[in-house]
Assembly symmetry: none
Homo-oligomer: 123 residues x 4
């Protein structure tokens, strides 16, 4: 977890995306218990308030739920996860295609570029 403090995007929104990806990819399994806000904040080197805000947002989205006094958990609603996964993919694909088309690239060119960069892209 390394945040880009110089980025245009706010930290908590970067954290949200990080958790989203971990959940949608299955790295964080449905029903799994999250570490405490304080612990997560420490792992992420951010202020607990910032982590808190990110987690609240994830709850609002429905990927995480709170069991009072017991902690926070990844949702067990598999279709919610599947939905989120599709929405996430769709949103970013469309954003990406919009940008590439704005550059004047056609489908074949876009795919060529993906082939080209796919290999180099390891980190």
């Amino acid at each position: 977890m390394a945040w880009d403090f110089e980025s245009d995007r706010s930290i908590y929104s970067q954290i949200i995306e990080h958790f989203e990806l971990s959940i949608l990819s299955g790295e964080l399994l449905p029903g799994a218990k999250l570490d405490s806000v304080r612990e997560l904040a420490s792992q992420a080197s951010v202020n607990p308030n910032t982590m808190q805000r990110a987690l609240s947002e994830l709850e609002r989205i429905g990927l995480v739920y709170t069991q009072r006094t017991n902690g926070r958990f990844i949702t067990q609603d598999l279709s919610a996860i599947e939905n989120a996964r599709n929405n996430f993919a769709k949103k970013h694909i469309i954003d990406f295609l919009n940008r590439m088309q704005s550059l004047g690239l056609n489908k074949a060119q876009i795919i060529d570029l993906i082939e080209k960069y796919y290999e180099e892209d390891l980190q």
Copy 2:
């Protein structure tokens, strides 16, 4: 030009990307005169200072230059544009691939999705 005022990204940075795309796609031609700061600000429904900031940054990047009292123009340096184009494409492709790989998608799956959404994408 419609900005997402709710977005995480600052307005001026959204404006910068908008102009970048217009220039890199050839919609704004090298040497073309831009409307005045005030005019552009009005079109974009933002404060002139905000527009000015975006344009200054585009100038710093080298995509735009100013002729005192005369207006702003798209750079005529074609290689600067070509460079910016490549950097822009590379950055967004890599960001995109990182996200898709984090979702657990492999190259074939990513390309499938692109095929799928490419057609629908007339926003």
Copy 3:
């Protein structure tokens, strides 16, 4: 810090030179924390935005860096400082020599004048 509001030079550029000199002379030490934008603006009797602009420029030049929410600091990159120092000296020496030569003074005369004024100059 006293700015010449009547001067031809913009305030923020006078402020930039002021900080440059403080840094290059060692009055502000590498790594030292600057006062807050608001505080510096108040000390300098300028608007915080004006001070911010000057500091942003110093950051772009590389003499200062920002730690989000924590404050601004003098760069710790000693070679950046040394470079800036040489550039600053060279620029002002050449400007100065150009003016003196335009007055028709030769090297000996220029040095004589420097000897003469060097002592008096305790402003």
Copy 4:
């Protein structure tokens, strides 16, 4: 006459200094008639209004005077020129020494640098 349109200084103030130097160095002789505002503006590639403003300022300073219907002339008051010359030199020497001392340079070092740059400085 080449103005730095990117400079912090306004054009008319650059023009003023240019005339000052021409007069103080004797390139423009006392009593000499200046070309018309329009002509000078054209030579300098600036707007007549800008040239006009520079000349008015030179008049205010006393280096130039106007003979109505007849044109503008360099002052014939030799002591005024001599004074201006001394003031100009003094002002710029002191500014220069202040900057160099702020850099932490002592007299010997300053003179060394002048020796060093004096030769290179031919244009």
